[in-house]
Amino acid sequence: MIAAAWWLTSPQTVGTGDLPDHTPDPEAGERFFWAGGCASCHASPVDGKRAKGDDKLLLGGGLELETDYGIFRVPNISPHPDDGIGDWSVVEFVNAMQRGVSPDGRHYYPSFPYTSYARMPVVDVIDLKAFLDTLPPVEGRIAPHDLGLPWSLRRGVGAWKRRYLDTAPLTLPASPTLVDRGRLLVEGAGHCGECHTPRDRFGGLQREHWLAGAPNPEGKGRVPNITPGGKNISQWSAADIAYYLESGFTPEFDTAGGSMVAVQENMAKLSDQDRDAIAAYLKALPARD
């Protein structure tokens, strides 16, 4: 029984031999830095406020996420060799991003959205690391999370992962189209579903309600339904969605609000083609109320 539980919760990792032969490209990696929203959590707050401009490239961590499970403290992922992740190997980075396992073999909590990053092509993750390596090292280690029982028992995350972590496409089949480019960004790096999809009582995403809107994890209200169903953006054209991601303006010329302000600023750094791809994917989704 204990052996079974130990096996069930054991960290699953990839080895160096599993990695594709790929020359890291930091310029390509910058695309995933913005699509992935790394800075929105890992950029050190400035005077207690969200970092802006070039301060978004200083990934010293320190933001505190107050949740029902306790306080998650966002770690330093700058390339500092001691305080950040500067001495990580490529395979260690891939295991963190796509298997939720640290270099010392412990589970990360899914507040770090590796369940989405697991859907990125591995070569994109390798390029992302190459980009992160070009950023300034930041000193300072962040204190550990402060969680209540049973959540503080980190090993339990292993069982959770068996149910909620996989790498297969979520909705539409893989295909060489603009929609598929969008699928990779939305289901993978962009981790849109982490907020726009409701969760079950174990905190896993309810895939049958993929992107159909969810309670706001940070307070009152709801995160909008971004499928072609519902009342939030069903009337928006693909061009409207792409323009919103670029400019922050809705078709009614209202501006983005709440957490979406930071997300939109990240999406504004992508190419027109990427924003068009995201819009095409969202329009291709099955409509859900």
Partner: protein
């Protein structure tokens, strides 16, 4: 007894004069309506910038004039005690910052009107500067209304 009456009369008058109602019938409603009008005026400019509507200098100028009038009145619609709606508490906690953000909007609108854009290419930069100030103020001083 008469002392009590006169005291409550003074208190009532003081209340009337300091209450948000004195600044208008309902500032939460008024500022909402004014901002709806601003949104309606922004839409045609936005559609022109997005290429969904043919450029028309008169349409652009009409919208800019709507912004101009609204920006002159908007700051007065947040008297003390009128918290609520989509107004963030930061408006009252950081009045100077809010006034500065409003002034940035008014300045960008003034500059756009002065530029009197006659082509799409002339409109893009000045309208872009105006739209940036919308976002700049909303990011800090507006909250999501539910």
């Amino acid at each position: 007894m008469s002392n009590l009456i006169s005291r409550s009369l003074v208190a009532t008058i003081a209340l009337v004069f300091t209450s948000p109602l004195f600044a208008g019938d309902d500032p939460v409603h008024e500022r909402h309506e004014l901002m709806e009008g601003v949104g309606d005026a922004a839409k045609p400019i936005g559609q022109i910038l997005k290429g969904e509507r043919d450029f028309d200098a008169a349409v652009v100028m009409t919208s800019l004039r709507t912004f101009d009038e609204a920006s002159a009145q908007f700051g007065e619609l947040f008297p003390p005690g009128s918290e609520g709606g989509e107004a963030a508490p930061a408006i009252w906690e950081d009045r100077a910052g809010f006034e500065e953000a409003l002034a940035a909007w008014a300045d960008a609108v003034d500059a756009a009107i002065a530029a009197n854009p006659q082509t799409l290419e002339e409109t893009k930069p000045v309208a872009g500067d105006v739209f940036k100030t919308c976002k700049g103020c909303h990011d800090n001083y507006r909250i999501e209304d539910e």
